[in-house]
C-alpha cells in the first residue's frame, strides 16, 4: 500500500509527457524513420562492399554535396526560374480558361470533355514535339512544363467555380450584382481551396516538366546536371543533385502552400 503514495502523483506526469509526445510525434516519427533508413543504407553499403558507382553511401553523397554546393545552387537557378515561369503561365491560363468554361455553356460543352480526355493522355511523351516547335532553348522547356501543369489548374478551378453555393449566387442576383462583381466577391473566394489544390499539383508537374525538358534539350539546370553526372557514372553527384532537386521541389510547393495561407487569411480578415 505504501507504494501507492509516490505513484499517486505520477500518472498526471505520465499523462502530460504522453500528451506532449503525441503532439511532436508527427514531426519526430518521419525524421527517425529517415535517419534509420540512411543509417541502414550506410551500414549496408560499407559492410556489403557495394561499389560506390552503384550505390554511394549517404556520407559520400553528403561530402559530394558539400563540394558541389556552389555548382548545384548555380544549376538550381535556371531550373527554378523555368519552373516558376511555367507555373505562372499555367496558373493564369488555367484560371482564365476555367472562367470561360464557367460562364459559357457552349464552350464548356465543347472544351471540358476534351480537357478531361487530355488530362488522361501521358503528356510527358509530347516533350520532343516542343523541342521541334520551339527549339533547344528555355522557351521550349517553359512551354512544355506549362502545358503539363495547366490541366490540373483548369479542372480544379472549373470545379471550384461550379461548386459555389447557388444560394449565395441567388443572393447576389437579388442584390442586382453584376456577374463580374459576384465573381470577385463570391465565386472566386469560394473556389480558392480548389484552385490552390490545383496549384499544388501544378507546381509539382511544372518541376517534372522542366526536368524532362532539361533532360532532352538543355546545357544547364539540375536536370542537365543529373544527366551529365549519370553519363560519367558519378553516382554520388547524381544523388547530390537529386537532393538539391528535392529541396527545390519542397521549397516551391511550400511557397504555394504559404501563398494559400496568406490569401485565405486576407479574405477572412476583410
Amino acid at each position: 500500500m505504501s507504494l501507492e503514495l509516490p505513484a499517486a502523483g505520477s500518472p498526471r506526469g505520465v499523462l502530460a509527457i504522453g500528451r506532449s509526445v503525441r503532439r511532436v510525434r508527427p514531426i519526430i516519427l518521419p525524421i527517425v524513420t529517415l535517419t534509420a533508413v540512411l543509417l541502414l543504407w550506410q551500414l549496408a553499403a560499407v559492410r556489403l562492399h557495394i561499389p560506390s558507382v552503384l550505390l554511394p553511401t549517404p556520407s559520400d553523397i553528403a561530402q559530394e554535396m558539400w563540394h558541389a554546393l556552389p555548382l548545384l545552387v548555380d544549376q538550381a537557378v535556371p531550373t527554378a526560374l523555368d519552373t516558376l515561369l511555367a507555373f505562372a503561365a499555367a496558373a493564369v491560363l488555367g484560371i482564365g480558361l476555367a472562367i470561360v468554361i464557367t460562364y459559357s455553356r457552349p464552350l464548356r460543352d465543347t472544351l471540358y470533355p476534351n480537357l478531361v480526355f487530355f488530362q488522361l493522355v501521358p503528356k510527358v511523351a509530347l516533350a520532343p514535339l516542343f523541342v521541334i516547335w520551339l527549339g533547344y532553348g528555355s522557351p521550349a522547356r517553359v512551354a512544355f512544363a506549362a502545358f503539363i501543369s495547366f490541366f490540373p489548374v483548369v479542372i480544379s478551378a472549373a470545379l471550384g467555380f461550379a461548386g459555389t453555393d447557388p444560394a449565395v449566387l441567388r443572393l447576389c442576383r437579388s442584390l442586382t450584382a453584376s456577374e463580374w462583381r459576384s465573381f470577385l466577391l463570391v465565386r472566386f473566394p469560394f473556389a480558392l481551396p480548389a484552385i490552390f489544390s490545383g496549384f499544388k499539383v501544378a507546381m509539382t508537374m511544372a518541376v517534372v516538366g522542366v526536368i524532362i525538358g532539361e533532360f532532352i534539350s538543355s546545357q544547364a539546370g539540375l536536370g542537365h546536371y543529373i544527366l551529365r553526372a549519370g553519363s560519367r557514372l558519378e553516382t554520388a553527384d547524381v544523388f547530390a543533385a537529386l537532393v538539391a532537386l528535392s529541396v527545390l521541389g519542397v521549397a516551391l510547393y511550400g511557397a504555394v502552400a504559404l501563398a494559400e495561407l496568406g490569401v485565405r487569411r486576407a479574405y477572412g480578415r476583410r
Binding site: A167, V168, R170, L171, S174, L175, A177, Y267, G268
Partner: protein, 278 residues
Amino acid sequence: MSTDKLAPSIEVNGVSKVYRAGTAAAVEAVSTVSFTVPQGQFVAILGPSGCGKSTLLMMVGGLEAVSSGRLIVDGKPMTGPRTSIGVMFQDPTLLPWKSALDNVLFPVRVLKRSIADHRAAANNLLQQVGLDGFEHKRPHELSGGMRQRVAICRTLIYDPDVLLMDEPFSALDAISRDEMNELLLDLWQQFTKTALFVTHSIREAVLLADRVLVMTRRPATIVEDLTVPFARPRSMALGENREFNEICRHLRERIEDGHGRSRAPRAGTTTRRHEAAR
C-alpha cells in the same frame, strides 16, 4: 416610407408560373394569383410545402420570370431584381469566410456603397438583434438562430422598401423560432416596411402578419384572404389569446380543405367542416 400608407406597394394580377410550358410535362406552379399589398403592410402567405408559395415570392422579387399576368412593385412592372426589394431566404446564405459584421456589410460591398458610412449602422443592427460581442465571429461559430439574425441585419442594412421572406425560420428549432418571431415583431415596430412572409406555420403567420393569404396545391392559388384583427405592438403572449387560436383553427381547416380537394377523387368525400366554422 413617408408616402401614403394605403398606396399599393405590391400588385399581383392574375400571375401564373408554368414550368416546362408547352410540353407534356408542363407543371403549373402558381395559378392565376391576384392580390395587392398596401405600403407598410405585413402579409403572410400560408400554405403546405410545394404549393408554389416560394415560387410566387421569387417572382415578386424578380428572381423568377412570370409566365403570365401582371406584377407591379412600387408602381413599376417587375423585370428583374431591384435594390428596393430585400429578399431573405430559407438558409441564411452567409459567406463562411467572413465575420458576422462583414456579412452584414456584404450588400454594401456588392452595391459599391461606402463601407465606412455603413459600419456604425451594421454594428447597431447587430446590437439590436442581440449579437453584440459576436461581430467578429465567423458563421460556423454561430448558432442557426444567430446566423439567421445576421441575415436579417444584412437585409436591413441597405434599407429596402419591400421585404420578401421565404420561410426564413423553418430550419430552426422551436425555441429559436419563437425567439426569431419575437425579434421580428420588435423590429417591425421600428422599420415598418412592406413585407411578404412565406411560411407553413399557421401560428407564425397569425402572430406576425396584418393579413394572411392561404395558398393551396392543385390549383396553386390563393383560397383565403384573412385580416388579422390584433393591434400592434404584439407579443408572444398573443398565442394564448382565444381569438388567436380560433383564427388559427379556421386557417388550419382552410388548408386541410385544400388538401382534401386535391385528394378528393381517391378519398371519395370532401370534408365540409369549414362550412360550419365560417
